[in-house]
Symmetry: C2
């Protein structure tokens, strides 16, 4: 930990006072070009970089957003739903574009729940994403939801939180339309419609709605919410087959579930898409590599990141929330 250069050192070298250094480096218009040049050169020569802790203490703002990624308890890094990593990347891009830093934490159990980044002045706002399969975590964050706290989440188990979500109903309709266009007559929805994950219910609604308009009554297989998303797909196919119910298409609530479905169908000797069409939701990369590649409904990730950041910045500024629905599109692959 070497000697650190301060604005005073730069000031001395440039032959000005320290506040002038500050003004010059912050692009204040009330500093002469000549002075600015001197300061810039001195700063360069000394390798001076503004100490952000001092800046933040003084300004009261951190230019940092905290991102909390909620995982299932005990989940390892490889087990995290890749969807949230993509979301994280998009949020990072959107934050960077607006000049914000990102403080990231992975939280999965009560010992490490923490959401007071604002109070601690570590961040100006917070974005919470991740699985709804960790009710304790969501309970914790809901407890933080005081009126003056700037935070926004993705998905959210409860409608009263400030969320950004996919256009789930529209996506559900697109999925239904796609399966109908494939000539399917007996589509089944697999996923926890009534789960903590409100988005699943929305997807089902759109799906059922579109089928209804085609004169078809949607059926759904409820799943055990304590299983992993993938196992939910496997189990659902198992119970579907056991029930003897006829089906020729499956709309899975999310891609991981769909990949489980694909595996279970394959294990049962049912070929996709010959016998059964399968469509998922999320657009995760792994869907590219399944056999057949997974057809899916993919949200616009860039928009997702943008809207999350934009909404939390609006909260910080005390402005109202803006658009909170992320458009989705059909990605046709092989299933």
């Amino acid at each position: 930990m070497a000697f650190r250069v301060t604005a005073f050192d730069v000031a001395q070298r440039a032959g000005v006072t320290q506040p002038t250094v500050s003004r010059a480096l912050n692009g204040s218009p009330k500093v002469s070009d000549e002075t600015r040049a001197k300061v810039l050169q001195a700063a360069q020569e000394l390798g001076y970089v503004i100490n952000q802790n001092a800046t933040r203490l003084r300004r009261g703002e951190t230019m940092t957003l905290a991102v909390v990624l909620i995982g299932r308890a005990g989940e390892s890094a490889t087990e995290t739903n890749p969807f949230y990593f993509s979301l994280l990347g998009s949020v990072a891009a959107a934050a960077t574009a607006r000049g914000y830093n990102l403080l990231v934490s992975f939280q999965d159990s009560p010992e490490n729940f923490f959401g007071q980044y604002d109070d601690a002045r570590q961040a100006d706002g917070m974005i919470v994403i991740g699985t709804t399969q960790n009710p304790e975590a969501w309970a914790y964050f809901r407890g933080l939801d005081h009126a003056d706290k700037a935070w926004v989440c993705w998905g959210a188990p409860d409608d009263d939180l400030r969320w950004v979500r996919s256009e789930n109903e529209g996506g559900g309709r697109i999925a239904a339309r796609y399966l109908l266009d494939c000539g399917r007559k007996q589509p089944v929805f697999i996923g926890a419609r009534t789960s903590q994950q409100r988005q699943f219910g929305e997807r089902y609604e759109g799906f059922a709605e579109e089928l209804r308009s085609a004169g078809i009554v949607a059926t759904a297989i409820e799943v055990d919410e304590t299983l992993s998303r993938e196992e939910q797909g496997v189990e659902a196919v198992r119970s579907l087959l056991q029930s003897g119910q006829a089906f020729d298409a499956i709309f899975a609530a999310c891609d991981l579930t769909a990949l489980g479905v694909l595996r279970a169908l394959s294990d049962s000797g049912i070929s996709v898409p010959e016998h059964v069409s399968v469509i998922g939701f999320d657009g995760i990369r792994a869907g590219n590599y399944s056999s057949p590649p997974l057809t899916t409904i993919e949200p616009d990730f860039q928009q997702a990141g943008d809207l999350l950041v934009q909404n939390v910045l609006n909260r910080i500024a005390g402005e109202p929330l803006t658009e909170r629905r992320v458009p989705v599109q059909l990605v046709k692959r092989g299933s």
Copy 2:
């Protein structure tokens, strides 16, 4: 942005002075239990949280590590090699375990290259991970490598940087042994042995070494480093087939390449593992969903995160680097 509670407010309520509040909250032994209890209660009642900017300014340390994830220029969030997301998750876990926060940034082009987190007192150290397919980024970070800077990277194109890596040679040997045990006689390595990614060369070395001890001369298909990892696999299979060279096994330098290989073989009507065995390296989740599921060499992610964090903390403390090789293991799946 409401009124913020300070240690003075807590002090007043508790009937002590502000420094006592600080001592009590920081667990100083030189404060009476009675006083501490009063302070804690007052803090609780007021919802007081220590302002980290003030703490950091005063202490000079941030208890934060910066993680830079380098991507290919223009790469979107879904295109990032999921291996790095797993690594990020592991680093996050290791950092949290040691009481450190994580500042994360995704960097892919010169406009957003930034590595002066230490100078700016935004972090005490830095961990750089991500693709070696962005030479400008690595050139930038190499330029930062002054003797007193605390940063460590994963992989690294150059041996002179401070890196943590997989046990690549050992992994290469395991891959060769596995293929030999499958009864394969003509294994081929696919990947850029001489690429910026030094780890690939190491994997090849171990692979060739083990084959040599079995009396087999390793062959390798060089690839175009400007292609994506996956396309590298596709192209390599294409040129392998064109060359007419006989082969019955492929060791791909990384899993994404292996997935490309799998796809290309499938497209050519070559069945895996009947005609050709395929093994990759990285242990990414998508390998679970390919057809057949991808056999691979997987590094111990937890250790990887641990070693990265541990080494950067050692650098901060001015201590020597510790162990820098992450153990790997064979993950047999279907290929």
